[in-house]
C-alpha cells in the first residue's frame, strides 16, 4: 500500500517535470517578447535588452530550463548568499566548496508584471478558488446523489423523466452562460431582494480597508459552477443505482426481510458509488485548477482569473507556477481517489 503511494508520487514527479519542459518550450518558441510587454509601447532597445538579461531571456532554452528546475527542486547546490536567502528558506546539509547542498523550499520566481513572488500570488488566489470549488462540488454531491437515487427508485415515473431531462439540459449549458444569467438576474435585477452583487470575491478588503470574508459573494459563482456537476452526478447515480438494484445480492437482501430503506441505503448505494466518485474527483480537480470563465464573470480573483491574466500579459513565471500547481492537484487528487476506492470497495486491492 505504502509502496503503491510512493510509486505513484514518483510517477507524479516525472509528470511535473514533463509539464515544466513542455510548457516552457511552448512559451520559448512563441513569437512574443515578455520584456516588451513589461514596458508597454514606449521602450528603447537598450532598456529592452537589459530587461531581457535581467529576466534571463537571452540564454538558450536548456539553460533557462535548468535554472528554473534548480529553483524548483527541493534539493540543490546553492551559494549561501543574500540573493539566495531572498529566494528560498533553506537548510544547509553538506558544504561543497563555497556552496552548500541544501534542502530548500521551491522557488517559483517573480511575476514579470508586478514583481510579486509567484508563491505569494498563488497563496492569495488559491484559497478563493478552493472555497469556490469545494462549494460547487458539495452542491453537486448534496443535490446530485439524492436526486439520482430518488430517480432510480421511481424509474420511468414523471419524477424520473423530469430529472433526466433537466439534467441533460443542465450539462448542456456552458457554465459561463449560466454564470452571466445568474449574475444578471439575481445580482442585478433582483439584487434588492437577494442582496447579492453582480461580481466580487469571497475574500477581500471592506470599505474600511480590513481584510475579511464576503460569504454572500460565493453563492452565485458556486451555483453557476455547480450546475454541470450536479447534472452529471444525478445521471451517474441514477444509472449506477438502476444497475445495482438489478443485482442478485439485492434479491438476497430482500429475501432476508430487510426494510426497503436498508436495502437501498446500505446494500445498493455503496455499490453504486464507484462511478460517482470518479466523476466527483475529476470535477473537483478540474474546478480547483480554476474555473476561468466563471471567475472572470464574477471578478472572483481566484486562480483561474490569475492564470488568464498571466497568459494575456505573457507573465511566464505566473503561468508556469499555476500550471504546476494545477498538475500537482490532479496528481494528488488521483492518488487520494485510489485510496477512497480501496476503502469503499474491498474487492479493489492495490498492488
Amino acid at each position: 500500500m505504502i509502496q503503491y503511494i510512493i510509486r505513484k508520487l514518483l510517477y507524479g514527479l516525472v509528470v511535473l517535470f514533463l509539464v515544466v519542459v513542455v510548457i516552457a518550450s511552448i512559451i520559448y518558441l512563441a513569437p512574443v517578447d515578455p520584456a516588451r510587454l513589461t514596458f508597454g509601447q514606449r521602450s528603447d532597445t537598450a532598456s529592452l535588452e537589459s530587461k531581457r538579461q535581467e529576466l534571463g531571456l537571452d540564454k538558450p532554452l536548456y539553460i533557462q530550463l535548468g535554472k528554473y528546475l534548480k529553483d524548483l527542486s527541493p534539493l540543490a547546490v546553492i551559494e549561501d548568499s543574500p540573493r539566495s536567502k531572498e529566494k528560498y528558506s533553506y537548510l544547509k546539509l553538506i558544504p561543497i566548496g563555497d556552496s552548500y547542498f541544501v534542502l530548500k523550499t521551491p522557488y517559483l520566481r517573480e511575476s514579470f508584471q508586478t514583481g510579486k513572488s509567484v508563491g505569494a500570488i498563488l497563496k492569495a488566489s488559491v484559497p478563493r478558488t478552493a472555497i469556490l470549488a469545494f462549494s460547487a462540488i458539495l452542491l453537486a454531491i448534496v443535490i446530485g446523489i439524492p436526486l439520482g437515487v430518488a430517480a432510480a427508485l421511481r424509474q420511468n415515473s414523471m419524477f424520473d423523466n423530469t430529472a433526466v431531462v433537466t439534467s441533460v439540459l443542465g450539462f448542456s449549458i456552458p457554465s459561463y452562460v449560466s454564470a452571466m444569467l445568474l449574475a444578471v438576474f439575481f445580482g442585478y435585477y433582483l439584487s434588492a431582494y437577494t442582496g447579492l452583487q453582480v461580481s466580487g470575491s469571497v475574500y477581500g478588503l471592506d470599505d474600511l480597508g480590513d481584510e475579511r470574508y464576503f460569504w454572500a459573494n460565493l453563492i452565485l459563482p458556486a451555483i453557476a459552477l455547480g450546475i454541470r456537476p450536479v447534472a452529471i452526478i444525478t445521471q451517474l447515480t441514477r444509472s449506477a443505482m438502476l444497475d445495482v438494484l438489478a443485482q442478485d445480492y439485492i434479491r438476497t437482501a430482500k429475501a432476508k426481510g430487510l426494510k426497503y430503506r436498508t436495502i437501498v441505503f446500505k446494500h445498493a448505494l455503496r455499490n453504486a458509488m464507484n462511478p460517482v466518485i470518479t466523476a466527483v474527483s475529476g470535477w473537483f480537480a478540474a474546478l480547483l485548477a480554476g474555473a476561468f470563465f466563471v471567475e472572470n464573470v464574477f471578478q472572483f480573483n481566484g486562480l483561474g482569473q490569475v492564470t488568464v491574466n498571466a497568459l494575456l500579459t505573457y507573465d511566464i513565471p505566473v503561468v508556469l507556477g499555476s500550471v504546476l500547481f494545477t498538475a500537482s492537484v490532479f496528481i494528488l487528487v488521483n492518488i487520494l481517489v485510489d485510496l477512497v476506492y480501496v476503502v469503499i470497495d474491498p474487492r479493489i486491492r492495490v498492488e
Binding site: 509502496q3 510509486r7 443485482q247 442478485d248 445480492y249 434479491r251 438476497t252 437482501a253 430482500k254 429475501a255 432476508k256 426481510g257 430487510l258 426494510k259 436498508t262 446500505k266 446494500h267 455503496r270 455499490n271 469503499i344 470497495d345 474491498p346 474487492r347 498492488e351
Partner: protein, 585 residues
C-alpha cells in the same frame, strides 16, 4: 386440513406482462409441503419453478411480473393459518428470512461484495431475533461452524470475493438458516458449483435440515440431484405441474413423457451410448398441444442406443494406430502471483505444471478436474492464448509455440475453442449471422460475401438452427441455442481440432444432452478431434475415448475413459466419481 401441512399453494397464477404478450410463468400451480419434508421441484429453464418459489416469498419482480391469482397458506407451529398473498407488504416482510428463507443459484453474485460475510449474516439475526450485535455475532460464528466453514472467525471478517464458490454457498446457507426458518427454499443452489462441491453442499443441507427441523423446497433442473436429497418430487413443464410423487415412484415408474425424457437425458455411467436420449424422443410438441408417445420407456431408449463393449475396444485400437495429431511435451504455464517493488516476479502460481500427452486424430480426449486444477489454462495454452513458461506443443508436426505470428494465424483456422459461457462469449450487438461470418472474413475464407453468407446458413442448419435466425441478436436465443451458435462459429473455419472448455456446464441437463449429441454427430460427420474439458466426470466419460484426470496443475491419471471409471487408481479420481449424483433405484 392435515396436521402435518406446513405450506399449501392453491391455484397459483403468476404472469409476466411483456411487450410480446403475457407469459403464464406459473399457470394454476397447486401443491403442498409437509413438516420435515424435502420437496423437489424439477424442470428446465423457463418451466416456472423459480417463479413459483419467488411467489411464495412474494419477491417476483413487479413489473413485469404479477401474482394474479391463487392462495398460499402458511401454517406456523401455533396452529394458525396465514394467507401470505393477502398480507400487506409490511406484514409480509417479517416472514422473509425468519419463517421462510431462500438461497439462490449464483453464490458468486448473491452476496453483497462490499460488506463482510459476518456483517451480512448478523443483519438478518439482529432484524428478526431482537438481539444485540455481540450476541448476533456469536450466533453467526456458531452458524459458520455448523455449515462446516473452516475458521469461522476468519470467515466472519472476510469479504465474499475472498471465498471460493462453495464457501460462499455455505455462507448463504448459514444466513438462511440463522433464524431457524420453518421453510428453506433452495433455488438451484448447486448448479453453479463443481460436482464435488455440489455433493458437499447437498450433504450439508441434509444435516442442517435434521438439526433445525426445517422443511426444504429444493429446485433444480437435474433429476440426479433430486434423487440424492428429496422425499417427494414435482415435475414442472411450461408453468404447469405435469407429474408428482415420491422420488422412488418417479424414478421407477415415470408416467409423463417429459419426466421420462429428464430421466433418460443424463449421461449413464454403467454403459456407453451412441447418443443421449433427449426429451423429444419421448414427447412431441405440436402447436402448443402435447401429443404424447407413451410407449417408449427409459430402458427401451437406453437399449436401443447402447454401444457394445467390443466396439469401444476396437475403436480405441483403431484410433491409436494413427500418428498423434497433437503432442504436448512438458508444458508449464506459470502465472506471476507476487511481484517486488520493481515489478519483478518473485512467486508463481503453477497453473499447468509439467504436463505431457497426445491426442489421436478422430479421438475425443476428456480432461476432468475440479475448478482451479488448471484444465482451462491447459486448453488455452495449447492454442497459445496464454503465455507458456516452458514445454512444447506439436500440432500435426508443427511446433505451435514457436510459430511466427503470420503462420500462427493460418494454424488458428485449424484449431478452435468453444467456451463455457454462451452468454458472454457472443457480442450482444452483433447479429448471430455476422458473428459466424466474422471469422471467415478475418481469415479471408471463400471468395465472395455471397458465398460466405450461404456458408453461414449452411452452418446454422448444421447445428439445427434456421436460416431465418441469421439477422437475430443473441438475447433472442436460449442458452442451448447460444451454445449452438458458438459451435457454428467455431466450425466456420472448417477446423479439424476443437477444444470444448466446459461447453455444456452452464446448460440444463436436457439441453446438455442435445448439445452433446450435436458434438458427437459433428465429430462423426466432419471427422473432428476434440479435447473435452469439464468438472463433471459423468459428462467427460460419456464423451471421451480416453480421459486425463487433472489436479493442481498435474495429470494424476490417464487411460481409456471406461477403465478409469471402473478402476480408479487415485483417491482424487474416486472422489470425482463419488460426487456424481446418482439415483439408487
Amino acid at each position: 386440513m392435515s396436521e402435518n401441512k406446513l405450506l399449501e399453494i392453491q391455484n397459483l397464477q403468476t404472469y409476466f406482462f411483456g411487450k410480446e404478450g403475457t407469459v403464464k410463468a406459473a399457470d394454476d400451480v397447486s401443491f403442498y409441503l409437509n413438516r420435515g419434508e424435502t420437496l423437489g421441484i424439477v424442470g428446465e429453464s423457463g418451466s416456472g419453478k423459480s417463479v413459483t418459489a419467488l411467489s411464495i416469498m412474494r419477491l417476483v419482480q413487479e413489473p413485469p411480473g404479477k401474482i394474479v391469482g391463487g392462495k398460499i397458506s402458511y401454517f406456523p407451529k401455533d396452529g394458525t393459518e396465514i394467507d401470505l398473498l393477502a398480507l400487506p407488504e409490511d406484514e409480509m416482510r417479517p416472514y422473509r428470512g425468519n419463517n421462510i428463507s431462500m438461497i439462490f443459484q449464483e453464490p458468486m453474485t448473491s452476496l453483497n461484495p462490499v460488506y463482510t460475510c459476518g456483517n451480512q449474516v448478523i443483519e438478518a439475526i439482529i432484524l428478526h431475533q431482537k438481539v444485540n450485535k455481540a450476541e448476533a455475532a456469536k450466533l453467526a460464528k456458531e452458524m459458520f461452524g455448523k455449515v462446516q466453514l473452516p475458521d469461522p472467525e476468519r470467515i466472519y471478517r472476510s469479504y465474499p470475493h475472498q471465498l471460493s464458490g462453495g464457501q460462499k454457498q455455505r455462507v448463504m446457507i448459514a444466513m438462511a438458516m440463522a433464524c431457524k426458518p420453518d421453510i428453506l427454499i433452495a433455488d438451484e443452489p448447486t448448479t453453479a458449483l463443481d460436482v464435488t462441491v455440489q455433493k458437499a453442499i447437498l450433504e450439508l443441507m441434509e444435516k442442517m435440515k435434521a438439526e433445525t427441523d426445517a422443511s426444504i423446497i429444493f429446485i433444480t433442473h437435474d433429476l440426479g440431484v433430486i434423487a440424492e436429497i428429496a422425499d417427494r418430487v414435482l415435475v414442472m413443464y411450461k408453468g404447469k405441474i405435469v407429474e408428482q410423487g415420491t422420488v422412488k415412484e418417479l424414478f421407477t415408474n415415470p408416467q409423463h413423457p417429459y419426466t421420462k425424457g429428464l430421466l433418460a437425458c443424463r449421461p449413464p455411467l454403467k454403459f456407453r451410448l451412441r447418443r443421449l436420449p433427449v426429451i423429444q424422443d419421448f414427447m412431441n410438441e405440436t402447436g402448443g398441444e402435447l401429443s404424447l408417445e407413451k410407449k417408449a420407456t427409459v430402458k427401451d431408449a437406453f437399449m436401443k442406443l447402447r454401444i457394445p463393449e467390443e466396439e469401444t475396444i476396437s475403436r480405441l485400437k483403431q484410433l491409436k494406430s494413427k500418428t498423434p495429431l497433437l503432442r504436448v511435451e512438458g508444458l508449464k504455464t506459470w502465472f506471476p502471483s507476487k511481484k517486488n517493488f520493481f515489478g519483478k516476479t518473485i512467486e508463481y502460481t503453477k497453473a499447468v505444471d509439467d504436463v505431457s500427452f497426445e491426442v489421436y486424430p478422430g479421438e475425443t480426449l476428456g480432461l476432468v478436474g475440479e475448478s482451479g486444477c488448471g484444465k482451462t489454462t491447459l486448453g488455452r495454452s495449447i492454442l497459445r492464448l496464454n503465455p507458456v513458461k516452458e514445454g512444447r506443443v506439436f500440432y500435426d508436426g508443427i511446433d505451435v509455440l514457436n510459430l511466427p505470428k503470420e503462420e500462427m494465424r493460418g494454424l488458428r483456422k485449424r484449431m478452435q475453442i468453444i467456451f463455457q459461457d454462451p452468454y458472454s462469449s457472443l457480442n450482444p450487438r452483433m447479429t448471430i449471422g455476422n458473428a459466424i461470418l466474422e471469422p471467415m472474413e478475418v481469415h479471408g475464407l471463400l471468395s465472395s460475401s455471397k458465398a460466405r453468407k450461404d456458408r453461414v446458413v449452411e452452418l446454422l442448419e448444421t447445428v439445427s438452427l434456421q436460416a431465418a435466425h441469421y439477422n437475430r441478436y443473441p438475447h433472442e436465443f436460449s442458452g442451448g441455442q447460444r451454445q449452438r451458435i458458438c459451435i457454428a462459429r467455431a466450425l466456420a473455419l472448417k477446423p479439424e481440432f476443437i477444444i470444448c472448455d466446459e461447453s455444456v456446464s452452464a446448460l440444463d441437463v436436457s439441453i446438455q444432452a442435445q448439445v452433446l449429441n450435436l458434438l458427437v454427430d459433428l465429430r462423426e460427420k466432419l471427422g473432428l478431434t476434440y479435447i473435452f474439458i469439464s468438472h463433471d466426470l459423468s459428462v467427460v466419460k460419456y464423451m471421451s475415448d480416453r480421459m486425463l484426470v487433472m489436479n493442481k496443475g498435474k495429470i494424476v491419471e490417464s487411460g481409456p475413459a471406461d477403465t478409469i471409471y471402473d478402476h480408479p487408481k487415485t483417491a482424487y479420481t474416486r472422489q470425482l466419481i463419488n460426487a456424481i449424483p446418482k439415483a439408487g433405484f
